[in-house]
């Protein structure tokens, strides 16, 4: 009996082996490696040598104005886009489930950004916002029409660029959230709404006391993944402002990590690792806070 048990244990390990090898080689090992790099001072990837071990990398990164700018950008992006996109998605999906006419059409329209190629989206945003020799961009035409002064959204003031980045991010993440929320909303038993109707419940009360609590697990899932996604933002900024994000003051933490590795100022895996580990701690902290809050507010 004992032998058979041991045998089956060996079998189980054998079956797990491919997954363990892959995860080990491409996830666990790099993770550990990054952690180790972040403490090796002056690591040179060509000669595979380093001067010593300590916190210098962290100290350097934390004093690097580019990193601080990236942290500031990332936090602004997170704080603006996560609540706005989740709230907007909630409104839109609630609207979608309330209408019967043209629902499919609207659903398709709202889902389009999800299936559109990033380059095509970038082009559209260029037409909307970018100043060229021929035009100031669609948005500026609108501003002119209302008597305002044109703004350079791509190479102009910081707030304008941040506005475009937030706008773009919200627009990109909205379809997925709407999709998830619409299915959560339609899974609420219709009889519960009928019961509320018979009880004479006002619309707002139905929404806040019944609908929202019933879909709160989904909303919470979207908030957590939204936070994580926004903290990892990078490609959106590149699509809008090009690869030299530091110059544009539009870098994000992930962008900083990338630049430290491969950018013009790159070749510093130690600094990149330190920044990555810092990002890891930030996301971990925020997610823990989220979990604590949700335990109080997410129903059943």
């Amino acid at each position: 009996m004992k032998k058979r048990l041991q045998n089956s244990g060996a079998k189980a390990w054998l079956y797990l082996l491919p997954a363990i090898l892959f995860l080990g080689a491409f996830m666990v090992y790099p993770l550990v490696d990054v952690f180790v790099y972040s403490f090796e001072e002056g690591y040179n990837s060509a000669s595979q040598t380093y001067n010593g071990i300590g916190f210098y990398n962290y100290s350097y990164v934390l004093h690097d104005p580019y990193f601080l700018q990236a942290v500031k950008n990332t936090f602004i992006l997170v704080i603006i886009t996560v609540p706005l996109s989740t709230g907007l998605a909630l409104l839109i999906s609630f609207g979608l489930t309330s209408i019967t006419k043209l629902r499919e059409l609207f659903q398709t329209i709202y889902f389009l950004p999800y299936v559109t190629n990033t380059l095509a989206v970038g082009l559209v945003f260029m037409i909307l916002f970018k100043k060229t020799a021929y035009s100031d961009g669609m948005i500026n035409l609108l501003i002119h029409a209302f008597g305002g002064e044109s703004v350079d959204f791509i190479e102009g003031p910081y707030w304008a660029k941040m506005f475009v980045l937030c706008f773009y991010t919200i627009w990109i993440v909205l379809p997925f959230k709407i999709l998830i929320l619409t299915s959560a909303l339609s899974s609420v038993n219709q009889d519960i709404y009928n019961a509320a109707k018979v009880d004479g419940t006002r619309k707002a009360r139905i929404f806040f006391r019944i609908t929202l609590p019933l879909i709160s697990p989904t909303v919470f899932y979207l908030i957590i993944t939204g936070f994580i996604g926004a903290f990892k933002a990078y490609s959106d900024a590149v699509a809008l402002f090009g690869t030299n994000l530091n110059a544009a003051e539009m870098n994000t933490i992930v962008g900083y990590v990338y630049d430290m590795l491969y950018g013009n100022s790159g070749g510093y895996p130690s600094y990149a690792s330190a920044a990555a580990i810092l990002l890891f701690w930030i996301i971990l902290t925020i997610t823990c806070i989220n979990l604590l809050i949700s335990r109080k507010n997410v129903q059943y």
Binding site: D191, N194, A196, K197, V198, T201, I210, Y300
Partner: protein, 377 residues
Amino acid sequence: MEVTLKNLTKKFPSRDKNNPADVIAVNHFDFTIPDGMLVGLLGPSGCGKSTALNLISGLQKPTEGRIFFGEDDVTELPPENRGIGLVFQNYALYPHLTVRQNILFPLQNLKGKDKLSKEVMNEKMLEAAKLVQMDGLLERKPKELSGGQQQRVAIARALVKMPKVLLLDEPLSNLDARLRLQTREEIRRIQQETRITTIFVTHDQEEAMSISDIIVVMKEGTVHQIGKPQDVYDSPKNLFVAKFLGTPPINVFDGTIRDGGLYIGEECILKVKCLKDSTGNALREDEMRPVYVGIRPEGFVLSEDGALTCKRNRVEVMGRDISVVSTHPASLNETIRSIISADNKVNTAEECVKFQLLPHKVFIFDKETEERIEFEA
């Protein structure tokens, strides 16, 4: 509160391309439910009974006709202004709220001059919870309750605003057999205590018969018969009603009336006279007339010189009485089931059993219209 339905009709547009005619779920309902009664809407599934309930509750709008609560025409009123309590088939309790919050919910919706103070709300909530005997479990959530308990919470929530009419949609269908018996007694007790006019929907004739003051037997959107359960059972208007009520079900035979007698096969089982059809016209008893003959299981009496001879299949002993299962070539049911007192001894040596029939347990129906033909034995 008296509930009156006048010419109430609900049609749904057909989704079937081959059959574009509207589906008539409720067809010209015209009856009054007296105040304080427990009324069962009874019919096979798809007969429109739930639709009828939804029309009364206001969740659906009728295509035609009017609904009155007492003197008031409520046809155009939304559900919340009708003063009804509605219990859904799946209870539809708010899953994230406790029993207390569920029962309080309708009260908290009151606004303006109807707004209640916290103390009054709590009092009313406790009263309703006590009525359904759930006052010990107020802090539980619905998923921590059994089906029967959830049902009671749903009833308490429907009753807490003291509705004029209480509506129950298949109240017992989600419960197991034992709980069903218990809960139907409970519904009866609550109704008797509150004297609220209560309408419930069911497809289970036993359920409807056992607790209703009045039953409404429906089929395919039309009302077939309304009356006290015993009256409907003893005097069904047509073959459908006779077949739908009673367990075991009624035994139906092909028969003929001729020469003043009712014949099944070649045997004259009863002498009949004074035949009257459903409209009250006298019919001649000496004229050959094909009919359906319905005989209630308790209408059979074992007798050596009985008029009806059946081939015996088996005898089932059920303690209080025994059930003789037999066959007859003219029977429309596969087997004939008769219930006789256990005092009788069935001669197991014989292959055939002979029955005498109790005339008031025998019903004759016209072969074409399936309407009842009344007779005197």
